[in-house]
């Protein structure tokens, strides 16, 4: 791996040249910046990966069954496995999706599952992202560049090729498309923080990159409008626009990002939407607590992967524990994402701890609490050019089309601040490639 470490400047130059950036809004100003890449990869041995793969597939299958159940039969609520307060009162639940069955009954086509590895070697799930998980394009392009910059490393190590993510996406999109028309990736536009990813994935999958205003719905059919008003039917939309902005006639009326009447076409089964609308009900941080129970309920299997120890103040026993131990727990706002709304009790002043307790007492459904997982550090090359340990997580990508498959790689994010556990890119984190060894 020596040549890879030596080539890190060249790798970063290539990434810059390919425009591998993400956008950040700070004080209302949009700035594009490079996503800091660290050349030391995370390596996952083949046997460990095999276990992860099985566990991830199991989890995503259960989540897909949960989503169907919530919008149709509601058995899991009737059987008391998941309380209604965590389903029908969740912000992510969309009554407009009641009774709609997406093409091939798949909801979470692209699931981004965040994991950490504890110091005892166990992998723990931190979060399920079933709406618009982003990040796969970064390790994909990083691999392309590192293979070019440090070929010897890739001759000396048996690493699963991860450059097939575009093919996996295309295969899934074609399956969801069902031969109805073209595949489209719908982006909110170039000022979206993940615009690089939208455009790169469109290039890699051969899909058309559509901007707001590029599509219309006529008689329940979605069309992409070309030059001279030429129209081409759309069969599948991999949307990178949030549910609430997707159709101004069904949801947020002021949205300029969506496609008017898209919901009508979706409800009629005339277009596949990737990921399905209404998935937010299953990736709410509160519902996360119940996922192992879903695995048992729907699949009648023991969960292979476990959650980080989590408490719900909604339950009396957990509530008492949280109030008495808040100083050693991580408190998360279920409505937030991207590393926002995460508070470490150990970093808070007594006054702030008291305020947080009052917030939990006032709105117990809004919060979850987790034990601080002492997860393993991975080395990065720091500003001085020396290896230095940092907290890292792993976002694994599970693609559900004809089959459910796990991409043999993932986005390993690291905290740039040595004292921080927050790895999100929006909070200044960087990324590494993830090597699955063969």
């Amino acid at each position: 791996m020596e040549d890879l470490l030596k080539a890190r400047d060249s790798v970063n130059q290539w990434m810059e040249r390919f425009g591998v950036r993400f956008g950040v809004y700070k004080n209302g100003v949009f700035n594009e910046q490079l996503f800091p890449f660290d050349a030391i990869p995370r390596q996952i041995p083949a046997d460990e990966w095999a276990m992860l793969e099985k566990g991830l597939i199991q989890r995503v299958k259960a989540l897909n069954m949960f989503l169907y159940d919530i919008y149709h039969d509601k058995k899991i609520v009737a059987d008391g496995v998941v309380p209604k307060e965590f389903t029908y009162e969740s912000k992510g639940y969309m009554p407009e999706c009641e009774g709609i069955t997406p093409t091939h009954n798949i909801y979470a086509h692209i699931a981004g599952i965040d994991l950490v590895q504890a110091k005892d070697g166990r992998w723990l799930i931190l979060e399920d992202n079933l709406r618009i998980p982003s990040g796969a394009s970064y390790p994909m392009i990083a691999r392309k560049v590192t293979r070019k910059a440090a070929p010897q490393t890739f001759r000396d190590n048996l690493i699963a090729d991860n450059r097939n993510y575009g093919d996996m996406l295309r295969e899934m999109m074609d399956y969801i498309n069902d031969g109805r028309g073209i595949n489209v990736i719908l982006t909110p536009g170039r000022y979206n923080s993940a615009f690089f990813e939208h455009s790169y994935l469109a290039e890699q999958t051969g899909a058309t990159l559509a901007f707001p205003g590029d599509m219309v719905v006529e008689n329940g059919i979605v069309y992409y409008v070309g030059l001279y008003n030429q129209k081409e039917r759309v069969g599948a939309i991999y949307r990178r626009v949030s549910d609430e902005y997707l159709d101004p006639l069904a949801f947020e009326p002021s949205s300029l990002l969506g496609v008017p009447n898209l919901m009508e076409a979706y409800r009629a089964g005339n277009v596949g939407v990737i990921n399905a609308l209404g998935n937010g009900v299953a990736d709410d941080k509160g519902i996360y607590y119940f996922v192992p129970k879903m695995v048992k309920y729907y699949l009648n299997e023991e969960p292979i992967l476990h959650n980080a120890p989590t408490y719900l103040p909604f339950f009396k026993e957990d509530f008492d524990y949280i109030i008495n131990n808040v100083s050693k727990l991580v408190i998360k706002d279920v409505a937030e994402a991207g590393g926002y709304g995460v508070m470490f009790g150990r970093d808070m002043t007594p006054e702030r701890l008291e305020e947080v307790k009052q917030l939990i007492i006032k709105e117990p459904r809004r919060w979850i609490a987790q034990e601080v997982v002492d997860f393993i550090d991975l080395d990065i090359i720091d500003e001085t050019g020396k290896p230095s340990p940092r907290k890292c997580d792993l976002r694994a990508f599970v693609i559900s089309g004809k089959e459910t498959k796990v991409w043999k790689s993932g986005l390993t994010r690291f905290s740039r601040n040595p004292n921080s556990f927050v790895v999100n890119s929006s909070q200044g984190g960087g990324f590494k490639d993830t090597w699955v060894m063969e």
């Binding site: 810059e16 040249r17 390919f18 425009g19 073209i182 170039r190 615009f195 455009s199 790169y200 469109a202 290039e203 899909a207 058309t208 990159l209 559509a210 901007f211 205003g213 590029d214 992409y224 409008v225 070309g226 030059l227 001279y228 030429q230 081409e232």
Partner: protein, 232 residues
């Protein structure tokens, strides 16, 4: 691949700005060279370069100020910096049409011009990598981009090429040759050009005698037709 009107418009303007950036540097180098032979005390030929680009400077002419302004000032719409930023504004949303490899050459131009702007580097020979990257960009387009996307890029490129050639009093045969190339791309998208205007432009291009008088009014008329030709 189906292309929206907006995408076609962006391809067209990417083609124009990429050609403008390339020719700007080429012509500026020429002006730079000519300045060397101007006797001390006379107005530098460099001011002609600006006039031909419709840049009129009020007050005294400070050559080094003009050079820096025209190279690096992002507030000056005719500056090389602005041309490259506009090029990027179009290219960034066209990755799927032009491919990442072609896009990378535009990114390289932008990265370099931003660094040089900070350095206030007045030596234009240090901007040669921009010329190289733009030539590589067009090579990459030939290699990777086909169909309507290429047609729109080339329409933009050729219109800009003829525009700059007219502005800088290129010989008639050069205009005629370039017009011949443009006509080939128009054949691919005949609905795109205004038929009355193309007829008028053709008539002016074939009139060698009138063109070679280099009469400003005649040139303005040609430029006017040329720039109203495509209706995207």
């Amino acid at each position: 691949m189906i292309l929206s009107a907006n995408t076609c418009n962006r391809l067209f303007w990417l083609g124009r700005y990429a050609e403008r950036g390339y020719l700007f540097l080429h012509l500026m180098r020429k002006a730079y060279d000519e300045v060397l032979d101007v006797p001390v005390g006379e107005t530098p030929v460099y001011s002609d370069f600006l006039k031909k680009l419709d840049v009129y400077i009020e007050g005294s002419l400070d050559t080094s100020y003009q050079i820096m302004d025209q190279l690096y000032n992002p507030e000056t719409v005719t500056s090389l910096r602005s041309i490259i930023e506009y090029m990027m504004d179009n290219a960034i949303v066209l990755r799927t049409e032009i491919r990442t490899e072609s896009f990378s050459y535009i990114e390289m131009c932008r990265d370099l011009i931003r660094v040089k702007s900070i350095q206030k580097d007045s030596n234009i020979t240090n901007l040669q990598p921009i010329t190289d990257a733009l030539l590589a960009f067009w090579g990459s387009i030939q290699e990777r981009v086909y169909g309507r996307a290429r047609t729109f890029l080339m329409l933009g490129k050729m219109i800009e090429h003829i525009d700059m050639n007219i502005r800088f009093d290129y010989k008639h045969y050069r205009i005629e040759e370039a017009m011949g190339v443009l006509e080939k791309f128009i054949e691919d998208e005949p609905a795109l050009v205004d038929k009355v205007i193309i007829a008028k432009l053709r008539a002016m291009v074939v009139d060698k005698e009138a063109y070679e008088k280099y009469d400003p009014e005649y040139k303005d008329k040609m430029l006017n037709y040329l720039n109203c030709l495509v209706v995207v």
